[in-house]
Structure formats: C-alpha cells, structure tokens
Amino acid sequence: MLSAEKVSKSFGGFQALNGCSIEIGAQSITGIIGPNGAGKSTLFNIVGGLILPDSGAITIQGKSIAGLRPDELAKAGLVRTFQISRELGQLTVLENMLLASSGLSGESVWHNFWSPTRVRSEQQQAIAKARGLLEQVNLWQFANEPAKNLSGGQKKLLEISRALMLDPKIILLDEPTAGVSPLMTKALGETITKLRADGLTFAIIEHDMDVIAKLCNPIYVLAEGRTLTSGSFREVVANRDVMHAYLGKVS
C-alpha cells in the first residue's frame, strides 16, 4: 500500500534518517518502534508531506507521492496525527471535527451566499457523522467546548477522531496512546482493529509495548535512522540488536 525506500534526511549535521525503508501493507496495522531519536517522527513527517526527504522514494500503491503537499496527500487518503496533540484550541471540539470533513461547498466563499440551504444541509450531515465518531470516544458531551479545555488524553482521542472524519485509507498515528488512560487505550485498540476490518490501513508509532504486541503486525524497529529489523512482535523482541538498541549493550 505505502512504501518508503531508502529515505534519508539530515538536519544540519544531524542525520535523522539514513536509508530507512518500510513497507506498509494494505489493511495492516504496522508498528514502528525504536529508541528516542531513531527517526520515527521524521519518517512520518516525510511521508505526510511536511518535510522533503534528501533522497529516497515514497509511493502509495506504486504511485510516487514525492513533493505532494499535505492537503494533496489528505485528498489521496493519507492522514496523520501528531505526537504532541495539535488540537485547534480556539475552535470547539465539534468545529475541530467539521474542519476535517472534505467537500463542503461552504468552503468556497460564494456558495454561502448563493446556496445557503445546501451549505447548511451539508453541515448537518457532517455534524451527524462527527457525532457518531465523538460518541465512540465519549467526547460528544464536550462538542461545544473549545478544544483547549480538554484533558491531554481527550485531545489525543479528538485528534484521532478528527483524522477519521476525512475517511482516509491510510492513517499514521504518532504515539496515539501517550497520556490516554488504560481503559481508553483498550477502547482505542478495539476501534483500530474494527476500522482495519473495514479496510483501513494503519501505521503506528508507539512506546507502549502492550499496544504494539496486541495490535501490530508487522513491526519495524528503527534505530539511528535505519531500519534495524522487522517482523512479528515475537520475532522482533527475540532479536539481540533490538535489545541493544532499546536497553543498551550488555557487557
């Protein structure tokens, strides 16, 4: 579905990615783990179109997506969330959701004057859809609140729900469970599994090994900007290099 081949990127003298390759299969939940500074988020930023790689190729279903802007990628069905929540605090929870719905004619200025009824009915449909998604994560009751008032965990959930408003094909989740309660993490895992069954593809950066073990297959281990190894959770944890990368070398 999505593949990144030999992607490299350096920031000044720091080589964040150094020939990293991953392959995200259709309808997989691909896990990406690695120590801090391994280049995981940089990889997501490159795939998501926020920064350009120095070299390497990124393709979706065989088609190159090099140089596409984030909004073009979103229209092609790829959406990402951020490691540190980037909710739009001044907008209400519901407005955050509605922002992500695509194809509203009211996004063109003049339609709001020429065909206000159509704009309104589209908005009602989008609200109904947002409501369904927000109810799944217990956020509908906060629909009218500015998003800045939510707790850290709720902001994470809002971001994931907002990504789902786009009806994406591929979702890149950057540490989705950081700061989310165990109960919500479990619910989130169930939601992801269900969405996968509906045909979505996920790539998840995560430090919670329980989440990785339960959800993800295959798992890629990144270290120092390279792909260290990949495989099922069992295979990956059995790998000595992975132990070294995460825990340091045992003398």
Binding site: D71, A74, Q90, L99, V119
Partner: protein
C-alpha cells in the same frame, strides 16, 4: 453640536469598516497587515481617480476601488506566501504599504503629490441639498457598515470561516486535514482588501479632499486598537472598539474648553496618551475585548 455628532458618527462608520477589514484578515484569519495605511490610500485614491480621471460615477468608482485593493492584496499574499514563511509576510505588507504611500506622495502626474486631490464627487452629491447631505452620508455609511458586518458574519460562520480560524492557530494541521493553505490565505487577504477599498472610498466621499498625510501609519494603530478593544474575531465588538477609539480621539478635542491652561500642542499629545491609557485599562480589565468571536454551538438531544 448635532452637526459634530453626525460627523463623528460618519467617521466612526468608515473607521469601523476599516477595522472590520483588519479583523477579518488578522483577527479571524491570522494574517497581520501592517500595510493597511497604504492599502487604505490605494482605495481612496483609486476611487477618487476613477471619478476624476476615469469619469466613472460614484457607484462604479467604489466597486472599482474595492476590486483594485482586493487584487493588490491577493497578489501580495500569493507572491509572498508562495516563497516565504508567514513571519516575513508582515514585513512585506509593511513595505508595500509604505511604497503605496510614497507613490501617492511623489507621482504628481497622477495624484498631484503633496497638494492632494480636491473636488472629489460624492454619491448623489448634486441631487441632495448641501444642508441635508451630512444626514444622507451618515445614513449611507451606516448602511454600508451594516452590510459589511452582515457579509463578514456570513463568512465567519461558514465552513470557510472555520478554515480561517484554523489557519490562525495552526496552518500545518489545516493542511494535514486537506485544506489548501496558500489559496485560502490569498482569498482571506483579498476579501479583506475589498473591504479596505470600501472604507477608502467612503473616506474620500467624506473629506472630498485627500492628500498623503491622511494615510500615515497611525491609521494602522487605530485599526489594531479597535480590533483588540472589540475582541479579536468578533465583528460587532470591533464596531464598538472603533467607536470607543474614535470618540476618545475626537471627543478629547473638547478638553480645551474644560482645561483652558493647555495649549494645542500639549492637547494633541494628551489625546494620544488618553487613547493609550484607555487601551491599557481595557487590556487589564477585559483582555478578551468587548465581545467574543462566533463559535458553533449545537444543542444536545
């Protein structure tokens, strides 16, 4: 006194329209415009020249001025934001604004330079008797102000308004959610530009004489004050903001009668100080401004 009140109300109206334009671009859309004074001059001069040299009537001259300023703003946004970060955008607007003011000052063949343009025609100026004209101009200004607020409110509450507020906070998120950031910003700036053109046209109708000194950078300061006092993003609030700023500014002329020891130089300085103190007090006691911007509210059932 009545006559003074009518004049000051008219000034409040077109100052409020100018402040609304800034509120749209900066308050809602997050695009700083430090070139406001120059763009305002562009609107006023365009309208006046379309009538004096182009032979247009007041209606088409106003539309023309709106189109010219909108196009100028659209080009500024497109050219600048395509190649640089938004931080530099503020600097470019400042430069363009200053450039426009210098054109007005130096291109004598077009603008008559420092002498200014005189005899600017007014809407229905030869139909309405001069003694009633100020009432008509006030009515027209109020109507245009109301129309502007309505127009901008429809946009602010629309899905496009939501994109504007999203861009103000985090353009990366807006892009990630499928919004074309550059194109949205060009539209925001151009629509604001059209409103600046409208305010500029009214400025010409009111004074009937324009020269470059009327468009100094203090115009920008007043507009920012009105937006901050009124509440960023809140259109109705900004009208109150503009009213407070203009009433303090013009009303403080009467201090001369109350405190006769002051000479006119001292008075001029004190008037600016009063505005400053007023703004500080406002920010201390009501930092969010008079009103709050529109937020979508749904009822749960």
């Amino acid at each position: 006194m009545i006559s003074f009140l009518i004049l000051i109300s008219t000034v409040v109206c077109f100052s409020a329209i100018l402040a609304l334009a800034l509120n749209f671009q900066w308050g809602l859309g997050g695009m700083v415009n430090f070139g406001m004074a120059g763009l305002y001059a562009l609107g006023t001069y365009s309208c006046a020249l379309l009538m004096l040299k182009g032979g247009a009537n007041t209606f088409f001259a106003t539309l023309g001025a709106m189109a010219i300023v909108a196009a100028a703003c659209g080009v500024i946004a497109l050219v600048t934001l395509r190649v640089t970060e938004e931080d530099y955008f503020a600097i470019v607007t400042l430069g363009v604004g200053e450039m426009l003011r210098l054109v007005a000052l130096n291109e004598d063949w077009l603008t008559k330079g420092a002498l200014g343009l005189t005899g600017i025609p007014r809407p229905l100026g030869d139909v309405i008797a001069p003694e009633y004209y100020q009432y008509f101009l006030l009515g027209l200004s109020v109507a245009l102000l109301a129309g502007t607020v309505w127009f901008l409110n429809v946009i602010a509450r629309s899905p496009f308004g939501r994109i504007m507020r999203a861009l103000r906070e985090d353009d990366v998120v807006a892009a990630t959610l499928g919004k074309h950031v550059l194109w949205a910003r060009v539209r925001i700036f151009a629509i604001g530009g059209a409103i600046i053109g409208l305010a500029g046209s009214l400025h010409g109708f009111y004074y009937q004489y324009i020269d470059p000194t009327q468009f100094s950078n203090i115009v920008i300061a007043y507009a920012f004050m009105a937006v901050i006092a009124g509440g960023r993003g809140a259109h109705q609030g900004v009208i109150w903001g503009a009213a407070v700023v203009m009433v303090l500014l013009e009303g403080s002329r009467f201090m001369k009668d109350l405190i006769p020891v002051l000479d006119s130089d001292q008075l001029a300085a004190i008037r600016i100080i009063i505005i400053g103190i007023g703004l500080i007090l406002l920010l201390v006691f009501r930092p969010q401004g008079f009103m709050r911007e529109y937020r979508l509210q749904v009822n749960f059932k």
